[in-house]
């Protein structure tokens, strides 16, 4: 369906918009073309050609009110002044967009088709509809399909969805299982002690976030959003003033040694007047943006802290299935010094989601979150639920635990950061979907004002602080840092926060050391003997990995880059006994003996689940997670 919309506004923008529902060579969610709202009329070949032509922008902007945009047609890499003087850094950060690749231009480019990104896209189109204007919105997604890289518990609070798409029930959103019971257990090796549940999940639902995001993707397309799965945003594009003007997608068809294969395709430059980064926790481009524009310093934010969540979806015996039952546990198998807990949610159709979340500031380098998860499933209170069941999918992802203290200033010249890339997860509630969605909606509203009325994008920050997101995060802000003082103090302070201060505590606890600095050296701990998998409840990594449907074309450069290739064998192995070989839930990192007998780090990049744990936990921050060729990575569908 195409639409040729020309509209005159104060900024004198004429917009050509094509709405499409197409994907890369690996396709997923299909949308019946007849469901898109715009009527088909004008032929679009001319429009398409002008949009896809390189170098010549489809439209010119007049007025300089939008954060310093001037010469948009010359997107040469910026000579950054001020913050980082080094030209090398500038070259690494911003890329020369114009030179040798095609560029496509949009009003808004959104990186990541997750809850935040899609909420922003939908909200933008809704505002367009309300005001009778049109903006072209493009969402790029590195997963092969919308939802392929989405994994979450998930007990869903529909607050933001009610605001965004109030008819979600009528429109058959995959939200059907209401929370029916809410249990909270403290586990020891053999027993489970019931504790009063700190959660209030009365009006919430047990869902598969991957399914919900797929549904949101189809809704976004109905609104005319262009979504392109299978394309990874790998570079940030800047203009001469250092303002972000869009992103560049990965070159495809590059061989492992860097040479071009016969199906080599140069990446495309996607230019946006506003660029929103919605890459999820520890987004690779978002982290660069935060560093470059000093966004944490800008509001005196603390560093971000993280946890690694490892999850499986099981199909269990009918008799054991209680749709809507929600269980959270604390304690075993994690020790008092390691923060974390498990969850077990009964979904629809005999499926249960079970997972273990381990805070990444754990001290023992011999800890393996994956193996702890395997242990958990053998607990006498959990084993009976899973017995006779089969695992359908497996996956892992890191999540934010920093709360309000760690949220960076989310606006930069050219765009904003939304969702978990900024970090709005409410840790005591263990919910981040609703706040991510709301942040996307607020950013969309700010971007709309910027594009149509020339207002400042910083209004996003203002509306965020005035919204229920901030109120919630403020109430939650001391729970997690309290546990840095130990389990008992943590529980004590949490109780005080919850029952006494009721979220209005006058003080703000700070986080401890950054996660990567928290690891102790190996000699102060002893190796942990983990039990062998039994193949029924617990499994080895390759078996689990197979269930994640993860894959990457093997003949491509490894996307996990070592800043210093010597550090693994010079430091990680002797000092910390190679913790990456234990915390990675996909066995990407292995120390294998060479011919000489010396151990060397082998990176099995093909296994990667895109969880980002290595980027976070590597003691010297030597591992950099960069985005591989689009379309690779896990294939989550019910996670």
């Amino acid at each position: 369906m195409n639409r040729l919309v020309s509209f005159r506004s104060k900024s004198r923008i004429s917009t050509i918009s094509c709405s499409s529902s197409f994907y890369a060579r690996i396709l997923g969610n299909s949308i019946d073309a007849s469901r898109t709202r715009s009527p088909a009329n004008a032929s679009d070949s001319l429009a398409t050609l002008s949009r896809c032509s390189s170098l010549v922008p489809a439209r010119t902007l007049t007025g300089s009110s939008l954060f310093g945009f001037r010469n948009r047609s010359t997107a040469s890499w910026s000579n950054l002044t001020g913050h980082e003087g080094s030209q090398d850094f500038a070259r690494r950060f911003c890329s020369d967009a114009a030179a040798e690749r095609e560029s496509m231009e949009y009003d808004v480019v959104i990186v990541g088709a997750g809850p935040a990104g899609l909420s922003a896209a939908i909200r933008l189109k809704q505002l367009c509809g309300e005001k009778g204007v049109d903006l072209s919105v493009c969402v790029v997604e590195k997963g092969a399909e919308v939802g392929a890289h989405i994994i979450s518990g998930n007990v869903f609070e529909p607050r933001a969805l009610d605001e965004l798409l109030p008819e979600w029930k009528k429109e058959e959103a995959p939200i059907s299982v209401s929370v029916s019971s809410d249990k909270f257990w403290f586990l020891t090796k053999d027993r489970a002690f019931s504790l009063p549940s700190p959660f209030d999940n009365k009006n919430n639902y047990v869902i598969s976030l991957s399914q919900l995001v797929r549904w949101m993707g189809s809704k976004a397309e109905e609104y005319g959003v262009e979504i392109y799965p299978g394309f990874a945003a790998s570079e940030i594009l800047c203009d001469d003033n250092g303002s972000v003007i869009g992103i560049g997608t990965n070159d495809m068809g590059v061989a492992k040694n860097g040479s071009k294969k016969e199906n080599f395709q140069r990446g495309v430059a996607l230019k946006g007047r506003v660029t929103l980064f919605a890459e999820g926790c520890r987004g690779s481009l978002s982290e660069k943006i935060i560093k470059k524009y000093h966004l944490r310093e800008k509001r005196n934010a603390q560093h971000q802290t993280y946890a690694l969540g490892i999850k499986e979806v099981w199909e269990i015996d009918e008799s054991k299935h209680q749709p809507g039952a929600v269980i959270h546990t604390l304690g075993w198998p994690l020790d008092q010094k390691t923060y974390g807990g498990s969850f077990l949610y009964h979904m629809s159709e005999r499926q249960v989601a079970i997972g273990l979340v381990v805070a990444l500031n754990y001290k023992n380098p011999y800890l393996s979150p994956y193996e702890e998860f395997q242990k958990l499933k053998h607990h006498p209170a959990i084993k009976p639920i899973l017995e006779d069941g089969t695992v359908i999918q497996y996956g892992a992802r890191t999540l934010n635990e920093g709360g309000i203290q760690s949220v960076p200033y989310p606006v930069f010249p050219g765009g904003a950061i939304i969702g978990c890339s900024a970090g709005f997860l409410n840790v005591p509630k263990i919910k981040g979907t609703h706040t991510a969605m709301k942040s996307g909606m607020l950013a969309a509203e700010a971007a709309f004002g910027t594009l149509l009325e020339g207002s400042n994008l910083d209004s996003y920050w203002t509306t965020l602080q005035n919204s229920w997101v901030w109120e919630e995060l403020h109430k939650a802000h001391n729970y997690r840092p309290a546990f840095d003082h130990g389990f008992i103090p943590g529980m004590a302070i949490s109780a005080v926060e919850h029952y006494l201060f009721r979220g209005k505590s006058p003080f703000t606890l700070k986080h401890g050391k950054p996660d990567h600095e928290a690891t102790n050296v190996a000699r102060s701990h002893s190796p942990i003997e983990y039990p062998k998998p039994d193949g029924v409840l617990s499994f080895d990594v390759p078996t689990s990995l197979h269930r994640s449907n993860t894959n990457h074309d093997h003949d491509q450069p490894a996307h996990l880059k070592l800043r210093d290739p010597e550090i693994p064998t010079q430091l990680n192995l002797p000092e910390y006994d190679g913790p990456e070989s234990r915390y990675c839930p996909a066995r990407v990192y292995e120390y294998v003996p060479e011919e000489s007998g010396q151990l060397k780090l082998q990176i099995n990049a093909q296994n990667c689940l895109h969880c980002k744990a290595c980027d976070i936990k590597d003691p010297k921050q030597n591992i950099e997670w960069t985005v591989p060729e689009g379309g690779g990575g896990p294939g989550y569908s019910v996670m």
């Binding site: 496509m104 262009e226 392109y228 449907n549």
Partner: protein
């Protein structure tokens, strides 16, 4: 000359397959689907022939339910000029597909038909051969190299056979089925994906093509292969022989 390429929507090759609880088939709900890898290779070959100037048009054909249009659009994004979607629900066995193909060939009159050697869901390896049989056309299957000679109106095909490579020379019009080593399919670029949406897709139903869809085949049961049992270490050759004879009953 027009080239017709068959593309099929199948479960993505990287997905872990599960059998449905009622054993009627494989679970396809919430499962990622993609174009059959051999069909990608077939389409790539057709596009290369067209880019070499030896063909005027590449038409991608798919048969299946409504969602198969996605696969067609991928084909268009890769570079096919037009798409044909034969909308048919239910199991589509190779003979029915071949009959539908024959009906389409009578309408479109292509000079070359390229298909993947087999689909990765049913592994039949029959459709291409049946199409050639129904049309009475020569066939070059398991192609690892295709060289078209426009003037002589013939095509040389290197076939991967058990004994090695066999080269056959086919008069056009002909049917070719592709094997893995023929080429490396191209990626669909973003601009091509956008251009693809304006490319025409014609829809047909089996009734319109006068093909009866009744099948002589019926899937009775689908089960998982038996789980591999752990191996047993034997301590001597005698013990091995004893086990082979008395436990495994193979000698």
């Amino acid at each position: 000359m027009k080239i017709m390429v068959a593309v099929k929507r199948v479960i993505d090759y990287a997905v872990k397959i599960r059998v449905k609880a009622d054993k009627s088939g494989v679970e396809t709900q919430n499962v990622k689907m993609s174009m059959n890898p051999f069909c990608e290779i077939a389409l790539e070959e057709a596009l290369r022939i067209k880019e070499a100037g030896l063909a005027s048009e590449v038409v991608a054909v798919t048969m299946g339910p409504k969602q198969s249009i996605d696969t067609l659009r991928t084909g268009l994004a890769m570079g096919a000029d037009r798409g044909i979607h034969v909308e048919a629900t239910g199991d589509l066995f190779p003979l029915a597909v071949a009959k539908l193909f024959k009906a389409l060939v009578e309408i479109e009159k292509p000079g070359l038909i390229i298909l993947g050697k087999q689909a990765i869901d049913n592994d039949c390896n029959q459709t291409g051969q049946m199409v050639a049989g129904l049309l009475g056309w020569p066939q070059g299957t398991f192609a690892s190299k295709v060289v078209l000679d426009k003037e002589k109106q013939e095509v040389m095909v290197d076939r991967e056979v058990d004994g090695g490579l066999e080269t056959v020379c086919l008069n056009l019009p002909a049917v070719i089925t592709t094997d893995l080593r023929l080429n490396q399919p191209r990626y669909a670029t973003l601009p091509n994906i956008m251009k693809a949406k304006s490319k025409p897709v014609k829809k047909y139903t089996p009734e319109e093509l006068n093909v009866a869809m009744k099948s002589d085949l019926e899937v009775v049961e689908v089960t998982e292969p038996p789980k591999r049992k752990a191996g047993v270490l034997v301590s001597s050759v005698d013990e091995l022989i004893d086990k082979l004879k008395n436990e495994a009953h193979v000698i």
